[in-house]
Amino acid sequence: MSGPRVDAKVVMLGKESVGKTSLVERYVHQRFLVGPYQNTIGAAFVAKSVQVRDKVVTLGIWDTAGSERYEAMSRIYYRGAKAAIVCYDLTDSSSFLRAKFWVKELQNCEEHCKIYLCGTKTDLIEADRSARQVDYHDVQDFADEIKAQYFETSSKTGRSVEDLFRKVAADYISTTFEVMSEERGVNLEQKKDPFFYSCCHN
């Protein structure tokens, strides 16, 4: 057997130091590393299997560097991705602008990729409310506009990290399931539901 079989490609995008690597680290290894900031070089890949109800999916997670240096090459990291977790730092408003850039990029190049907005480092604003630089409702509006899911996480405390990736996995399973049942066309339950049926055709 060669390397891990991957069902869904998931890409982490966002400005440097917003906490993408920490998010993956928390999710995959259940830990938060302190110490001097180590920026990611190029990109890092890690696979993780998740069970959602009776199904197991393996997420192939690409953690990108977010540096301008390899921007021209960033397509190789998100091409064919089923999900993109676009991160920004809740205490840094410029990182939200950068997140918008990535969203636009995905909309242009990767229309089938589901977008998840993720505001990071909630522990910092819990400790000091005035540290928040990105308004919750602004993001909510933006998320509605681009039809994205929205999470606020902390890799330090672990808050909502599991929920985020679980949602990614669950969404992947349900879309795959929909597509499959559509192809087979013999799912009786679905046929009974005209709304669901038509929705799948758009």
Binding site: M1, S2, G3, E16, T21, V24, E25, V28, H29, Q38, N39, T40, I41, G42, A43, A44, F45, V46, D63, A65, S67, E68, R69, Y70, M73, I76
Partner: protein
């Protein structure tokens, strides 16, 4: 790029005495108990092919400079430590022998070093990188912002001299050497209080230059500055400062960068062969180099036929892996330019540790940026193959002792040594013994080695042999066409003792060469 092919027609040397195997052919090298002095017959010389682009020394690193090296003049020298390696300033008349340091603006970020402080001035070696427009790109100590006026002055100096169709190389003043390296569109400046020569400092600046190229490619760098002369390159280099910082640390501490050579994990040749052939079997279409590292030691390297890696590119890869813990988990995939191979384009490197918690790091270099999963597959195939062999246990065992003690050689006065086989580009060196275990002491002894290196490779008065007495140790360096040898003795030893130790050491290295060197490199 000049292909530096192994030069078999090397002049036959007849250095002092019995060691030279007169008329000996390369083939019986391995059977010979006496180490040859000549390139290709020295201990550690590869059997039939080489792993690296054959690098003589500094000239090869710079390649484009005109080579005015006086061939080993055969001189011998005994001196006190600390004599300057090159006397006299070059490049500038005396009234300009001052480094100007403009007072910088107050209010620079508090966390950063104060560039007006005495402590800042006292650093042994400063390095600055700037654009031709005088814009700061990198500074080893202190922020670039705080140093922008200093860098402006540096650029003014460079331009001033160039206006007269001259090139500024260095300024020597007051115990400092200021060395300039002009590599359009960049200018690099080193300010050092070390015993190194201008030439060795310039060699180090080349490393920094190539480090930057490895991130961007020269093509991209030129493109950027052609379009926008006063572009702030720090935008593109963001996040890479620690790579340059770490490289400068390696230049101070790692004998490999000084010797232009790589050191191997001591391993029995049968074990190494199994590892190499497993790696060789895990090939892929676009794979060019497969490199297995244990910390800063090379375990094995397999390359595509006819493709050679330059030791400098390998050091840049070592530095990339060594200065980032981000490869520890998962698999890294990054574009990298190997500038001594080709400054124009990116390779793509798959970087991963073989297993969690191990020091064994595998670097697979491909020409195809879409190759990640192919290479990931290569890695798994390699690992599976290796796990089934007993060689894997032997390798794990060897990792517990990545170095060896100098006492194994059996020369009581000998404290430490560096031995480089020129034809293989590999070197060996024992771990630092007791008096040199602190970082400061290691840097001090390295600085002495650097000093000897500077003397040996002096551009106009090169030496073949040098013996120096210092307060804490005596040092000897000897270079032949086959090897470079640096020895460190206790201060109580004598010169006669030191000279007699050479023979014994070379015999020991010959005996151990199967373990210490990679004698039969592999290709796919």
């Amino acid at each position: 790029m000049a292909a530096d092919v192994h030069n078999k027609a090397v002049p036959w040397e007849t250095a002092n005495g019995s060691l030279a195997p007169v008329e000996r052919l390369r083939q019986d090298r391995c059977d010979s108990p006496t180490p040859g002095l000549v390139e290709g017959t020295e201990p550690g010389a590869g059997q039939d092919s080489h792993m690296f682009v054959h690098a003589q020394s500094f000239e090869d690193l710079t390649a484009d400079g005109d080579d005015t090296r006086a061939e080993a003049a055969g001189s011998e020298n005994t001196s006190r430590l600390g004599e300057p390696a090159d006397e006299g300033a070059q490049g500038l008349p005396s009234e300009e022998e001052q480094v100007e340091e403009k007072e910088s603006h107050p209010g620079s970020r508090a966390k950063e070093e104060d560039v007006t402080s005495e402590a800042w001035r006292r650093h042994r070696k400063h390095v600055f990188v700037l654009s031709e427009a005088g814009k700061p790109i990198y500074s080893r100590y202190g922020t670039e912002e705080a140093l922008s006026s200093t860098m402006g002055v540096m650029m003014a100096l460079v331009s001033f001299v160039e206006a007269e169709k001259n090139i500024i190389r260095s300024i020597h003043a007051d115990g400092y050497k200021v060395v300039f390296l002009r590599k359009s569109p960049l200018v690099l400046v080193g300010v050092a209080q070390t015993l190194q020569s201008e030439r060795d400092l310039s060699r180090e600046l080349h490393y920094i230059y190539y480090q930057i190229i490895s991130l961007l490619t020269l093509t991209q760098l030129n493109h950027i500055f052609q379009h926008k002369q006063n572009y702030d390159l720090r935008r593109l280099l963001a996040g890479s400062e620690h790579l340059t910082d770490n490289l400068l640390k390696l230049l101070d501490r790692d004998p490999g960068l000084l010797l232009s050579a790589v050191t191997c994990l001591p391993l029995s040749s049968s074990v190494r062969d199994v590892i190499s052939s497993s790696l060789q079997a895990a090939k892929a279409k676009n794979l060019v180099f497969s490199i297995l590292l244990a910390g800063s030691h090379l375990v094995t390297l397999v390359r595509k036929k006819d493709q050679y890696l330059h030791h400098m590119d390998l050091h840049l890869l070592f530095n990339l892996v060594g200065s980032s813990s981000s490869f520890r988990e998962g698999e890294g995939w990054t574009p990298i330019c190997l500038p001594k191979f080709n400054t124009a384009g990116f390779f793509h490197a798959h970087i991963s540790y073989l297993e969690p918690g191990t020091d064994l790091c595998l670097i697979l270099v491909s020409t195809d940026r879409e190759d990640f999963f192919n290479l990931s597959d290569c890695k798994h195939r390699f690992l599976e193959r290796l796990r089934r062999r007993t060689a894997y246990q032997a390798l794990q065992e060897a990792l517990k002792n990545p170095s060896y003690s100098v006492s194994q050689v059996g020369i009581p006065e000998l404290r430490h040594f560096l031995y480089k086989s020129k034809s293989s580009g590999l070197y060996t060196s024992p771990e630092f013994p007791v008096p040199y275990q602190s970082e400061e002491e290691q840097e001090r002894i390295m600085e002495l080695y650097q000093y000897l290196h500077s003397r040996i490779h002096h551009p106009t008065r090169p030496l073949r042999f040098i013996y120096c007495c210092g307060e804490s140790e005596n040092l000897l360096a000897w270079v032949t066409s086959g090897f470079e040898l640096y020895l460190c003795f206790s201060p109580l030893g004598t010169k006669a003792l030191a000279v007699s130790a050479i023979n014994k050491l070379l015999k020991w290295i010959r005996k151990e060469e199967d373990r210490l060197f990679i004698l039969s490199p592999q290709t796919y």
